[in-house]
Symmetry: C2
Subunit: 883 residues, 2 copies
């Protein structure tokens, strides 16, 4: 066996030659290097070359910018082999080999690192190039381009000076063609400028040029823009970029030459026909620079835009035929649509790069369905490739990319989709608009649970405070309302009925558009579009449903949400947040009266009035549930959330409870908590106010009997088995009463919400009585990390910037910390009750990475907001396929 | 081997007879039964009898009040043996055996359960008793007493009717002695009354009486007062009470008879001489009822009170001699002072009970030291017996029990000790009093960190809100200021300069006394006393120091605390809360200016002014530390804590920062947090405001260099290793600067505070860089249980009442939940760095049960407030001895 070289990886040496290399790995060779090796191995035409692996970059940067000593010998061997394959010699004055030195990282970082083309040209080899090509102008123009690129990338000179010099010469020169001498003159001026600016003659030694270019590419890994790009996209800083040294081919070598980019299918629609652009007699950067308008690849493409210039299909039919044949080979190999860079040099096609193409979600679904039908991929492979998060975006209306907009403010994109409406500042106003069927955008400093009906009534929500998991964000997401939070520049003056942002004052009734996908808030009504869900959507999600083990349920607030959840394929309601039922106008008034009630009789009367209202709401929920499992969480609000705030509300509450306004205010003050999230809520309130919870449980069970449903009753804020047992007993007592009065025992099960670290540690003991467990991972994250969701924005952003956190732990589960508690709780509870049902009802249940963790942890289901259900189905399938 | 009886345990059958029984166990026999068996085994004179074990009570109550079928045969055997030993027969008309049926639980529950004496008397046996005793009046009086007691305890009749009947007869009768016939007449009237009230004749069958009495005693375990008593003292509800059936002896059998209670040493002072009281010709309940005044046991005791009646020592010298000899035997056996009940029947001494005596803490220490010196106990045994919590109380002034007081309000006893002072309502006022050296009592609705200097200036603190671990409580405890919190009836009107409570209005300057040991607040100056710490205190704590493995350090706020902590034997400062240094007037003003500062230059100037102030404070701390290890925690306050609240403060802050009052108010609003305890604090602020923390670290390190100290720098609010590494690097950078400017590298170590669940889970990774770990168990409990200390009062009290919690998790560590995180973190961190130093700086470090856990978990030290240090030293010794 031939010893594998440490630092060089040749490719495309000769047909089948690359088979000597290992299977190309993106981690080792970078995306570009790996794709070249792959294409060479497939027998496709690739200019020969070799790649220095990413490990070299680590070694170079780690050793204080020193190249390893054993590189030289391997490098010389690889270069000699390249010369042999190309039939040219590097630095040869008569017929020189020119090379491109290209960067290429394992993750796509388009344009972030450097490339140097045409390395090997100097005052002598330029003559050889002129001779060989028979095109002296081409040779001198190529030399000039090389000097400018080298001055920029390797010497670090100001590229504007070269461009200004060239522009000045062109202005002086006018429209007539350049003579050889004139072209030489410009090039000489470039050489002089480079020497003056750098303080040394421009390097004439091709080897020195080559090593300079290689070092520059390696160092571009740590350029400011590359570092910033990685930080923004969570791309790791190691190992670094690979460097590919490849024989130059010239799309600008006269007629019969061209350069272009082709997609194997239409990236916008997914339609199964080649798509792309090319430029005759041009180099790649001419396409990028936009100085010339590219032409369509295909005849159909030309007809579609009414173009006059011939397409590649028409201009070079043989070349086009070879390109389309190559497309087929690549799709077969990669199983998805490819994005290919190519050059034609004097009628000969060369492929320079291929990668899996970026497409719209609609196109991605169509491509997956079509290619599986065509036998080019399998459902499993196609499922792995799709992005679960994109499915949710597909379900929402969006602002087309090219729409002009006047952006008022940017905040955190908290709930996807876009909506237009009139600005309102109060819940009542939002409800008034909804009653008139006019869309409203609710603008608030921040939201509290009491705003829930306003969020429901509004078309979209904007807040100036809060993070991605603030109250407003969670509620808006679960209701599918577009929402932007934490728009710090928005100053809300609700009293005056206006807000200011970007120097504009926006008043009540003004129309704005909230884009919860991008986080932008714009003035006026922007046009919106929504993708049509076609057969491909159903095909792909059908595959996902067959592949996954995790069940997917939905978190909902209202009966309407339940219907929506089923439409998106939810297999049950993993969390019905009952707060909506409690905070409607009538129950809210009764809750206030209950809190202010004096004596047992007044309490009993109030609860008797409250119960039928709750029951009616649960009846609607069960009716829309269509027999699917429905988890109803017991009330999880602190009493303070019910108290009135405005003078009018206080007056009304005092009147209804036959007490004084001072007493109402005193009660509200007494109920206010320093840290409400760790306060008197959930099962704690269930234990201290058992009558209130008995009324709720009775409402649930009676509604369930009517609807023939078997609800799962979820007890929130549990921290010990003893607490759960108290509530468990109380619920059983109500069930016994219902059985006695109705003659039938109401079917139900009861479980504990694991949202505090101690509950996770206590899961074994909880499983003795709890029939199911549901992780409230939002709160569990909050308590485990000691980070208040409402206050975290002040430092979490900096944490992400400084890479103290790799992501937002409220978006993607912190598997090291919170995940350990989750996995431990699953183990402990299954030891006691092997068949216990375990799910997640925190919003992590809709996040693909978190879903992968929940799958591995052995959970039974995840539950997320309705719009995230399709993505969760896909992510659950991907998790199962990764096993 | 004789099969051990299941349900009966005989004792005192004959000299050495009890050796047949197993070693008496309190769990099996109850306290009384075990002490009788012990005394019998020691050969001391005990009336013979047998005990039905506690398991019988469980079985009886568990089986729906049914006695087990195999009891009868064993019982009959035991009764027969008792008859044989006593030489009398139960129910014998001529010479009847009478028995006492007594309760006795494993835990002391004095007077909470029932006892029936003289069982076996009826219309026939009373004649036999009269015959045998030669005292007809004694026999009939005893029968009457039995009827009343039986009617009360067994028949459940209203005892007042019997007493009213007896009083009426006595009134009619006058002063002359009763004739036999008259006594018989009263007794007959009692029998009639019992028959009328119960609707059945009074039971004449001695066996029926006996079983009735046994059942009544068993059932008294679940009487309301017994259940309440257990609940209040955390005594478990199982197994139940034992029942002792014992031959009656009569202290009221004429001259030469007596009954009394004796202590083997003086329970008030611990002086090594017998102490006690007796009554000639009386039964035990005569001593208890207080109708006759008991006489001193000893001649010295009589002389001390100037009594005229002879002491037992003088009246019955032989009996006294036997009693003192028995005292010696008991002290030898039990190793501590005994509290003994005895009866003398016609010159013969009988011991009825012995138990380890309750004493003052001063006496307990003296007794321990003396008895170890006398060879009656060992230091180890004495250490096990002492109550660590009592040591802390000893250090504080207290209100003598018998002082009359006018109680204004009761709250939670949050910081022990008592103090008197003038009522003030503001920090400034408290400081003004302190400047005049007049004591002040600071009265507030609740406290915030900004009140710290007021608490320090005040003699005592009273708040109307908050729990035992509220801010005020923690700070007051650490400073040794008596403190009562959560006195809900106190309505504070600081604006008017007064508070109202118990219908009184107390205004600024009025004198009150705050008793932080009892929770009482009284009007006026009450006399206070403080125990003198003698040699016994040092002797006992010297033993403790030799026995323990855990080191004990102190949590402190001020340089003065550091001195106090050393006086109480602290081996270092486990937590110096730096907040005190930041919140003094001058640093506070600078912090406000920093928060409001505009631009880098203004920040730098402000920090340059702040640093020397901090440094001076640390210099004082290190100077008083005397070379002991000192842990300085980095600033752990949210910025909001520094913001001004009153209009005057806002104006002043705006002036100092050259900004507007509106801007100050806006900044304060922006900094307010929804859940401050989970907010932007500790290391989070250290990362976002590195310049502020660099100033603090520089102040610490420069002060340390001056004082030749090697501080341990503690980083609070850590939730990940990545966070800790950032702060670690920043601190190292400051240390390098200090080394450069001073020429000497400042010695220090750096560690992480484990106060969030995730930090505990992350301890292994933390240990890679952290040189020590310190558990902040207050906050760790808060986050793990999801219970805000400031808001928990609303439900924790009910949780304790309903036994959902066995204790306050902020007082005694929740070993199941929080303890699991602690133990896991110790294990993980020691795997990575075996020699890592691990301590606790939460107030659990002063709680004996928690200290036992920390010892078992393998921690290196605990740290608590200075006044708790001696108790912690003792508790640590007890934990080591329990190994």
């Amino acid at each position: 066996m031939v010893r594998r070289a440490r630092w060089v990886r040749p490719f495309g040496a000769e047909p089948g030659g690359a088979a000597r290399a290992d299977v190309p790995s993106v981690a080792d060779l970078g995306g570009k290097g790996a794709s070249l090796a792959e294409m060479a191995a497939l027998g496709l035409p690739v200019p020969p070359g070799f790649t220095l692996p990413t490990a070299l970059c680590s070694a170079y940067l780690g050793a204080g910018r020193k190249l390893p000593p054993d590189l030289d010998a391997e490098f010389d061997g690889a270069l000699a082999e390249l010369e042999r394959t190309a039939g040219l010699r590097f630095g040869d004055a008569a017929d020189p080999l020119l090379v491109a030195v290209r960067s290429g990282a394992p993750a796509s970082m388009p344009g972030m690192m450097d490339t140097v083309l045409n390395v090997g040209l100097n005052d002598r080899t330029v003559e050889g190039l002129a001779q060989r090509s028979g095109d002296s102008r081409f040779a001198w123009d190529t030399y000039r381009r090389f000097i400018q690129m080298y001055a920029d990338v390797v010497l670090g000179l100001d590229v504007d000076r070269f461009e200004r010099l060239y522009e000045a010469r062109r202005r002086d020169h006018g429209e007539r063609p350049w003579s050889d001498a004139e072209l030489r003159g410009v090039t000489t001026a470039f050489l002089d400028l480079a020497a003056t600016e750098s303080g040394a003659p421009f390097p004439q030694d091709p080897r020195a040029q080559l090593w300079g270019a290689i070092r520059a590419v390696l160092e571009s890994w740590n350029s400011r823009r590359a570092v910033t790009y990685r930080r923004l996209r969570d791309i790791p800083d190691t190992p670094g970029t690979a460097v590919t040294i490849q024989a130059m081919v010239f799309g600008n070598a006269g007629d019969g030459s061209a350069t272009g980019v082709g997609f194997t299918r239409d990236p916008a629609t997914g339609a199964p026909a080649p798509f792309g652009e090319y430029l005759p007699n041009a180099q790649g950067d001419d396409v990028v620079s936009g100085t010339r308008t590219p032409r369509p690849l295909t005849q159909l493409g030309r007809i579609a835009i009414g173009g006059a210039e011939p397409s590649l299909e028409e201009a070079m039919p043989a070349v086009y035929g070879r390109l389309v044949a190559a497309f087929r080979v690549l799709e077969q190999r990669f199983g998805t649509m490819q994005d290919v860079e190519f050059t034609v040099e004097r009628g000969r096609l060369w492929l320079l790069q291929t990668r899996s193409g970026m497409t719209s979600t609609t196109a991605a679904l169509r491509i997956a369905a079509d290619m599986a039908a065509e036998g080019l991929t399998t459902p499993e492979a196609a499922l792995r490739r799709l992005d679960p998060a994109s499915l949710g975006r597909l379900l929402h209306p969006s602002v087309p990319v090219d729409v002009k907009r006047e952006v008022l403010a940017r905040g955190l994109p908290a709930s996807p989709g876009a909506a237009t409406g009139a600005v309102v500042f109060t819940v009542e106003d939002a409800q008034a608009y909804a009653a008139r069927r006019e869309p409203a955008v609710l603008v608030l400093t921040d939201t509290s649970p009491r705003d829930i009906h306003g969020i429901h009534a509004a078309a979209a929500v904007l807040t100036s405070r809060g993070g991605a998991t603030s109250h407003a964000a969670i509620v808006a997401r679960s209701m599918g309302r577009p929402c932007v939070v934490g728009a710090g520049d928005v100053r809300v003056d609700a009293g005056e009925g206006r807000f200011t942002a970007a120097g504009r004052s926006v008043k009540r009734g003004d129309i704005v558009t909230v884009d919860g996908t991008s986080g932008e808030v714009s003035l006026g009504a922007l046009p919106l579009e929504r993708a049509a869900l076609g057969g491909a959507f159903d095909t792909v999600l059908g595959w996902a449903d067959r592949a996954r083990r995790l069940r997917v349920r939905a978190n909902t607030e209202t009966p309407e949400d339940v219907r929506l959840a089923r439409e998106f394929g939810a297999e049950g309601i993993g969390l019905f947040r009952t707060e909506y039922s409690f905070l409607a106008a009538e129950p809210l008034a009764l809750m206030r009266r209950l809190i202010l009630a004096d004596g047992a009789a007044a309490r009993a009367d109030t609860l008797a009035a409250l119960r039928p209202l709750l029951q009616a709401s649960y009846t609607r929920v069960f009716a829309r549930g269509g027999g699917l499992p429905i988890t109803v969480r017991l009330l999880d609000l602190p009493l303070a959330a019910f108290m009135p705030h405005t003078p009018e509300e206080i007056t009304e509450a005092a009147r209804a409870a036959r007490t004084t306004e001072a007493e109402v205010a005193a009660r509200a003050r007494a109920l206010a908590e320093v840290n409400p999230v760790l306060g008197h809520r959930g099962c704690r309130l269930a234990i201290s106010w058992p009558d209130l919870y008995a009324a709720q449980v009775r409402a649930i069970l009676q509604a369930a009997l009517e609807a023939e449903a078997a609800p799962q009753i979820l007890v929130p804020v549990i921290s010990s088995a003893a607490e759960f047992e108290v509530v468990h007993r109380n619920v059983a007592a109500v069930a016994a009463e219902v059985a006695k009065s109705s003659g039938a025992p109401p079917p139900y099960s009861i479980g504990a919400m694991i949202e505090l670290p101690r509950a996770a540690l206590e899961a074994g003991r909880l499983a003795r009585t709890a029939e199911f467990l549901s992780f409230g991972t939002n709160n569990l994250t909050q308590a485990t990390l000691g980070v208040s969701r409402d206050d975290a924005a002040a430092f979490l952003e900096r944490y992400r910037r400084e890479r103290i956190l790799s992501g937002d732990p409220f978006v993607t589960l912190d598997t090291e910390g919170v995940g350990e508690l989750v996995a431990g709780a699953v183990r402990r509870s299954r030891e006691v009750r092997p068949a216990i049902e375990i799910g997640v009802c925190g919003e992590h249940g809709g996040d693909p990475d978190s879903i992968a963790f929940f799958h591995r942890a052995g959970l039974d289901y995840v539950s997320c907001s309705p719009y995230r259900v399709p993505g969760a189905r896909l992510a659950a399938a991907q998790a199962a396929l990764a096993d």
